[in-house]
């Protein structure tokens, strides 16, 4: 069950904001907050998932400690948000373990990599390129469930979230509004287009928005590469390996590069950020997860480069292991935030 003290504290702070309203222009949390005089638990959870931790409202607040009102909206909303992900995760026990534990994430990744190593040795190859190491059939047998299970788990989680925040029937307009906002990461512009106060006290910067965009679009490109490969394989009967100027390679290569830069950039920003304006217990887990995403992209790029060499087997195990761990951990790690955030944007579109 959710620990209500965080929600209670968030409600106390939100009520102060509702009497103040100075931060109204920064993000969609405030207009949503001002719309209600009495905030139910579900409303607070929804506010928490609308917040993207830009921290602008912290530096602007005349009531932060040492003031006795002790406002720290980014911090308390991060805690409520985190708890809402863990509470709705399916199964919930996994949510709590991985979010809060970078070591566990690393262990999961190592186990997945070792398993891939063992499989590569045990199973016969069947084709060209990396299919010579692991046949297409074996890959599908491993990765299809590893892809479908997290999606199902996320689906259950989001459904729980939706009832928690009292969501209504979703219409096309709501989705359209949410997509438009997410695609531009509009809220990350900080209301005035100068970005977030994140890595350097009260200085506004676009750093976080840019790095986030790189990660999101890098990830989507990699995903598109896999999809393109799958279509080529099944529809056009053109199995891998592909030439450099093929759709899967071009998408994968550019996506991998964006993802590499983006994850490194995110780690750099996060290192400089103020932990108490986030939820400190998950800091290591978050770093662990970004690092995993970096390994996914870097090992993928290394595969392109080292494809013909004797290192292929090791690289393949590394990459596929990282991808496997990444997929399986998605519902229980920071990766989930993208899905919850999208749900929150849809819910917000219903409020308007």
């Amino acid at each position: 069950m959710l620990d209500d003290t965080a929600i209670e504290e968030a409600r106390r702070q939100a009520q102060i904001c509702n009497a103040c309203r100075y931060c109204e222009g920064y993000c969609s949390v405030f207009p949503a907050l001002h719309a209600q005089r009495v905030m139910a638990d579900g409303d607070i959870v929804q506010l928490a998932n609308l917040c993207h931790n830009c921290q602008n409202c912290f530096d602007a607040c005349q009531y932060t400690a040492p003031h006795e009102f002790d406002l720290n909206l980014p911090g308390i909303l991060a805690e409520v948000r985190q708890e809402s992900w863990e509470e709705t995760a399916f199964p919930a026990a996994l949510g709590r373990s991985f979010h809060r534990n970078g070591t566990l994430i690393a262990m999961a990744a190592v186990v997945a990599m070792a398993a891939l190593f063992a499989l590569l040795r045990a199973l016969p190859g069947g084709g060209e390129g990396f299919y010579a190491m692991l046949s297409h059939g074996a890959m599908v047998a491993i990765f299809l469930p590893a892809f479908v299970f997290p999606l199902v788990a996320l689906g259950v989680g989001l459904k729980r979230y939706w009832s928690r925040v009292g969501g209504e029937r979703i219409r096309l307009g709501h989705l359209r509004a949410a997509f438009a906002s997410a695609a531009q990461m509009r809220n990350l512009a900080g209301g005035h287009g100068k970005g977030c106060n994140f890595e350097d006290g009260d200085r506004f910067s676009q750093g976080r928005r840019v790095m986030h965009q790189l990660v999101m679009y890098g990830f989507l490109l990699c995903f598109a590469a896999t999809t393109a490969g799958t279509i080529l394989h099944y529809v056009f009967d053109m199995p891998a390996p592909y030439a450099l100027f093929s759709l899967p390679k071009l998408l994968g290569l550019s996506g991998g590069i964006l993802l590499c830069i983006g994850t490194l950039g995110m780690m750099r920003l996060k290192l400089r950020s103020r932990p108490d304006l986030q939820f400190p217990p998950v800091r290591r887990g978050e770093f662990g997860f970004i690092l995993l995403l970096f390994i996914v992209s870097a090992s993928g790029l290394a595969l392109y480069a080292g494809g013909g060499t004797t290192a292929l087997g090791a690289l393949l195990a590394l990459h596929l292991g990282a991808v496997l761990a990444f997929f399986l951990l998605t519902p229980y790690s920071k990766m989930a935030h993208g899905f919850y955030r999208f749900a929150a944007l849809v819910r917000d579109a219903q409020r308007r």
Partner: protein, 464 residues
């Protein structure tokens, strides 16, 4: 012995809006500037960190401001609240200058946002700071530091030594020690004296000890008193301060905007003894806001109690503390420490005097009044009869004091012998030169910005 005396051309006393505007302006002309701010860094920015908007003249749409707000209309609005106690020439100069200030503020890092929800009536006249006054102050400190301005926090100025028509020495305390500086020019922008409760009590009498101070605890008027003692010209009534009625549970200092209560028009207000003492429905609330500060100050223990019922709860902006709630008036009285029988009698008498309430209209003077009741309630008079009942305590919250340094149109200070050649003042500490009573929302930041820039420019010119 003065130390480091050659380092700084201009010393600015204070770290709020007026001080920062002066410091940035002086630094932009090449002067080496030091800000001495009494507060520690987290509390920097004085009352300016509590503000939300800037009243701005504009001939056409400007930034977030819609339509037009001309000089004469602005001046008329001012005269209405000051009852004529206004220096017309200085006031008009400030008003005219505001139009150029807004883009200047943006250039120096301030972001504006459309009028906040609940304040639509100000959308044409007042430009709201995105994030409020603290965001403005943060932006100014960043800009000032980029311009080479040095800032010392925790550095209250204790004495400006004036002799032969100039300031020869600035004394301040920092790190537990007294330090001296001898800059070429000094700008005083250290606000009013409202945080010095003893001084308030001297001016207002003992009731002032029960007042709450809405803003910073650091505006204690130390430099103002020091200059008065040395014969500097002052202006404004020392017994006057701007005070409003705020939530009685607010902290002694620094409660800021969230402690305001807008529910009086929909309530009855009683004193400690359970008696009503003024017409709660006299006028729309913003106009009565300041009056109730004084009314409450005149009651025993300087406290009032607002009583409403559940019908009225959704009609006003929520405040920082939830109201005290009870199922009956007797229970509410007990929870609020009021005589229960008396409260019930007062409410019964009020309810009996309420007439037809079908015309009730919360957003305008609706004429729904009591009959034969003293004091009457002339608008929004609806019986208080639908539990749960809610109560708030009310206390007097002081915004600022009016007594200040007299300046001319170049922000220069003077004494009996004439101008003090290297001393300028800006902001609340000289606002009495412009308005002697009353207050117009957004005019404090207007005075501070306009005079801060003038003082900075004049100080830098003097330095050459």
């Amino acid at each position: 012995m003065p130390e480091k005396q050659d380092r700084y051309d201009v010393v600015v006393v204070g770290g709020g809006n007026a001080a920062l505007c002066a410091a940035m302006t002086a630094a932009e002309t090449g002067a080496k500037v030091l800000i001495l701010e009494a507060a520690p860094e987290p509390y920097r920015g004085g009352n300016s960190r509590h503000t939300r908007n800037f009243r701005c003249m504009h001939e056409g749409p400007l930034s977030v401001l819609i339509d037009r707000y001309g000089e004469d209309e602005y001046f008329d609005d001012l005269i209405k609240v000051t009852g004529g106690r206004t220096d017309e020439a200085l006031a008009r100069m400030v008003i005219r200058e505001t139009e150029a200030c807004l883009p200047w503020m943006q250039d120096h890092g301030v972001h504006f946002q459309p009028s906040l929800s609940g304040t639509l009536s100000l959308a044409r006249t007042n430009a709201f700071f995105m994030g409020g006054g603290k965001a403005l102050v943060n932006a100014y400190y960043r800009t000032a530091e980029a311009l080479g301005v040095d800032v010392l926090y925790d550095a209250p100025v204790t004495h400006l030594a004036v002799a032969d028509g100039r300031v020869n020495r600035v004394e301040y305390i920092h790190g537990g020690q007294q330090h001296n500086l001898a800059p070429k020019a000094v700008v005083v922008a250290s606000g009013g004296f409202q945080a010095d409760i003893d001084w308030l009590a001297e001016a207002w009498g003992p009731p002032a000890r029960n007042f709450l101070i809405r803003g910073t605890p650091y505006n204690r008027g130390t430099v103002l008193r020091d200059l008065i003692d040395q014969g500097a010209d002052t202006v404004g009534d020392p017994t006057q301060c701007h005070a409003v009625a705020i939530d009685g549970r607010a902290p002694k200092y620094d409660g800021g905007i969230v402690t305001r209560l807008d529910c009086v028009p929909f309530s009855i207000v009683v004193n400690r003894d359970g008696d009503r003492f003024h017409d709660e429905g006299e006028d729309v609330w913003p106009k009565r806001y300041a009056i109730w500060g004084r009314l409450v100050a005149a009651q025993p223990d300087q406290v009032g109690y607002v009583i409403i019922d559940s019908k009225s709860l959704p009609l006003f902006m929520p405040s920082v503390y939830p109201p005290i709630e009870a199922g009956s008036l007797a229970e509410l009285a007990r929870k609020m420490g009021l005589p229960a029988g008396k409260l019930q009698t007062t409410v019964a008498a009020f309810n009996a005097a309420c007439g037809d309430t079908v015309g009730f209209q919360p957003t305008e003077l609706d004429g729904v009044a009591t009959n034969g009741l003293t004091p009457p309630k002339s608008n929004w008079a609806r019986p208080i009869d639908t539990p749960p009942y809610y109560g708030y305590s009310l206390r007097t919250g002081v915004t600022f004091t009016y007594l200040g340094l007299r300046v001319d149109e170049r922000a220069q200070c003077s004494d009996a012998a004439g101008p003090i050649s290297n001393l300028w003042a800006a902001g609340e500490t000289m606002a009495g030169s412009i308005l002697g009573q009353g207050y117009l929302a957004g005019f404090g930041m207007a005075i501070g910005t306009v005079f801060g820039r003038i003082a900075g420019r004049e100080a830098a010119n003097h330095v050459g």
